[in-house]
């Protein structure tokens, strides 16, 4: 066990009974609700989320703030559309020749002293990381914010092996200390407000390291200071860091991490060993492709012209930074997505979260209802492709959208999410769900494919219209989902078609 560094000046601040005893970190952090296994289908999870008034308020405030910031920095660039096209083209080029670029990446990384590993799935990736960590004889790692490691549930795998994985991104720290799940790709604690964060810091920090000051307030600066002090000892102590990567440049063998806080750079530069788990779709053909990407990503994600910290590394540099550098290239369903002609555009995703921030569904339900570390519109198309449509939640995700199209407009790499959602709905139907619905839809198709049948069905509506008259329809058996909160339109006594024939005869009919 690596001894933690005592707090400066006041060891008793840890809350230990014996102020002279060095505090210890007892085993893996318990995170009972950290995984998404067994999630209910989206409408059920959404109903619970909609009733969480604090979360609704937090999400509304956060998404609208970031929406406005993004809009301002996107609108100021006249070449934004050209950048989007360039970004999409770079990704498409990489995906079209993925095998070639990955081999080039591997060759360049290896030539520069990194060790490249290939992982077919989460289990293989976790085993590779665990083996490297065990060989270092450490019982903890510090982590850079990483979606790929969350996707494979690396923290849980490490904890099961007695190794603590410390999240060092401020928001990930909040989620981890709160025994919570991330609800947003970029700002995973978006569902929390600062008073909740103060509570979490005050109660939880001391259990896993340096506690929060006893007079902690909910001022952002004080909260950040508490996190800085808590994390600093972990940065200085840790011998192994685990990261992901935003981009992996094939022609130079360079990994890139884009961040705001500098905590990522601490992890990427201080420990002796660095393990990066990188989805195979992160590869970019050339260094020049970063030109578009490093403009698209910060403007789309945090609404900044440029992010504060961009760390790039190519293998090992003697005497500077990590001396043992590993890269785990992760498939975990991506090849399957790549095989789909339409679906593969989802692999362009650079995890900026712009689609979440503009989504009217996400804004109200938050991320947990999507049952994955990838929530929001991109999650609704990515999860059913990566994981298949077998679970209740994955079957329901393609329908978790009103198809309003705000996500497509906001996407910096032009992923047509509404089109993909419709395509995936077709897959869900094809795979045999919705039996009662499919009967109804076949019937509707039969009626609508013939004007005489349609006119027949319309007679039922106008008959109902005559019976109901001017009254308002407030409830209809079987239509509760509509009428619980909405009046139903009263059918007219005459359809347009009937009116036309009455006025014009058959004139204007088919010629």
């Amino acid at each position: 066990m690596t001894p933690p560094i005592p707090a400066e000046g006041d060891p008793a601040a840890y809350g230990s009974a014996d102020p002279t005893a060095a505090p210890t970190v007892a085993g893996p952090v318990q995170r009972t609700s950290a995984t998404f296994i067994g999630m209910p289908k989206f409408p059920e999870a959404a109903r619970v989320a909609l009733a969480n008034t604090q979360q609704r308020r937090n999400l509304h405030h956060a998404t609208h703030t970031i929406r406005a910031k993004r809009a301002a920095v996107v609108d100021e660039l006249p070449q934004w559309e050209a950048l989007r096209v360039a970004g999409a083209e770079a990704k498409d080029e990489a995906l079209t020749h993925l095998g070639d670029y990955l081999e080039q990446l591997e060759a360049n990384l290896t030539a520069r002293g990194a060790v490249v590993h290939w992982a077919r799935d989460a289990q293989e990736a976790n085993a590779i990381v665990l083996e490297i960590v065990r060989a270092k004889e450490v019982d903890e790692v510090v982590k850079v914010k990483s979606m790929a490691t969350q996707e494979i549930e690396l923290n849980e795998a490490l904890e099961a092996a007695g190794i603590n994985a410390w999240e060092t991104d401020l928001a990930e720290l909040i989620v981890q200390l709160g025994h919570d799940r991330p609800s947003h790709i970029l700002v995973p604690a978006i569902h929390r407000n600062r008073s909740e964060i103060r509570e979490i810091f005050s109660h939880e920090m001391g259990k896993v390291g340096r506690p929060a000051p006893s007079d902690l307030t909910d001022e952002p600066a004080r909260l950040a200071e508490a996190a800085r002090l808590h994390l600093r000892e972990k940065f200085l102590r840790a011998r192994v860091a685990v990261s992901g990567a935003n981009f992996a440049v094939a022609d130079t063998g360079t990994l890139v991490v884009v961040e705001s806080e500098g905590n990522g750079r601490m992890c990427l530069t201080l420990p002796e060993t660095l393990i990066s788990v990188v989805g195979i779709e992160k590869v970019l053909p050339t260094w020049d492709d970063l030109g578009a990407m490093l403009q698209l990503l910060p403007r789309s994600s945090t609404g900044e012209r440029m992010n504060p910290y961009t760390t790039m590394w190519s293998g090992v540099h003697e005497g500077d930074g990590p001396q043992d550098v590993h890269v785990v290239l992760l498939d975990n369903g991506r090849s399957h997505v790549l095989a789909d002609r339409l679906g593969r555009q989802a692999l362009r995703c650079i995890r900026c979260s712009a689609c979440l921030n503009v989504c009217p569904v996400y804004e109200r339900t938050g991320g947990h209802a999507y049952g994955s570390v990838y929530p929001g519109p991109i999650g609704a198309v990515l999860n059913p492709q990566l994981r298949g449509t077998t679970s209740d939640v994955d079957k329901s995700l393609p329908y978790a959208s009103s198809l309003c199209g705000a996500c497509f407009d906001a996407c910096p790499v032009r992923i047509n999410i509404p089109e993909l959602l419709v395509e995936l709905r077709g897959k869900v139907v094809e795979e045999g769900g919705h039996t009662a619905e499919s009967v109804a839809m076949k019937a509707a198709a039969w009626v609508l494919s013939d004007p005489k049948r349609l006119a027949g069905a319309q007679k039922a509506a106008t008959t109902a219209g005559r019976v109901i008259g001017k009254r308002t329809i407030r409830s209809v058996p079987g239509l509760g989902a509509w009428t619980n909160a909405r009046d139903l339109p009263t059918p007219p006594t005459e359809t347009f078609r009937q009116w036309w024939v009455r006025e014009h005869g058959d004139e204007g009919g088919p010629r």
């Binding site: 989206f42 409408p43 959404a46 909609l50 009217p360 569904v361 109200r364 329908y399 978790a400 959208s401 009103s402 198809l403 309003c404 199209g405 705000a406 497509f408 089109e419 419709v422 709905r425 077709g426 897959k427 139907v429 094809e430 919705h434 499919s438 839809m441 076949k442 509707a444 198709a445 609508l448 494919s449 013939d450 004007p451 349609l454 319309q458 509506a461 407030r474 989902a481 509509w482 619980n484 909160a485 909405r486 009046d487 139903l488 339109p489 059918p491 007219p492 005459e494 359809t495 347009f496 078609r497 009116w499 036309w500 014009h504 058959d506 004139e507 204007g508 009919g509 088919p510 010629r511």
Partner: protein, 256 residues
Amino acid sequence: MTTPSARATDLKVALFATCFNDTMWPETPKATVRLLERLGCRVEFPLEQTCCGQLLTNTGYAADAVPLVRRFVDVFEDYDAVVAPSGSCVGSVREQHPTIAENGGDEALAHRVAQMGPRVYELSEFLVDVLGVTDVGAYFPHRVTYHPTCHSLRMLRVGDRPLQLLRAVRGIDLVELPGADECCGFGGTFAMKNADVSIAMGADKARHIVETGAEVVVAGDNSCLAHIGGLLGRQRSGVRRMHLAEILASTEEDPA
């Protein structure tokens, strides 16, 4: 009122009423006919028309929509212009029919669909772009707020065409809707499959509408308006829903 363009009388114009308007909201296609005839068009309503198939497509039954796509082309391809009072249905015809035809494996159909797509217009597009009018001679002395529906805004990109038309209506008190470009939460079967989220979205839309003090909320899609109007009605809000065509057809002699 702008003089009807010479083009109006030359064009062979077909009305695509849409199945939903035909069955549930006949006043909207009737108003569309009145308006277009007033502007000099000779409007035909081919009786063999049925539906664009969007309900099937967006619920995951695109394969079952192929006969509807074929029927649409059969019925409408000989016209110079097809006009529909629905951004959503026109969006389906222009954006989804090509893919449905391609995926259905019928190349000839896909070709015909691609050929006619650009001649299918949402009402405000036809008025502003084809007829070249914004002042259609309408009169509507009421406080009105306009909700741009998602498919007209982000699929068809009608932009401010409906607002240009509304601003030219005599007597109208047109007030801006806060958060106008946010979805109302209808979304077709989304309104039933995810009713709670749909209602949460609609409740915010309804609140914004009520806050404007408008008497009428106007939009280019009766589907979205059925949802918005259903919420406003349940709340006894004192705001009624109207389709854009009905306001534009309204005159002093024949008020809506």
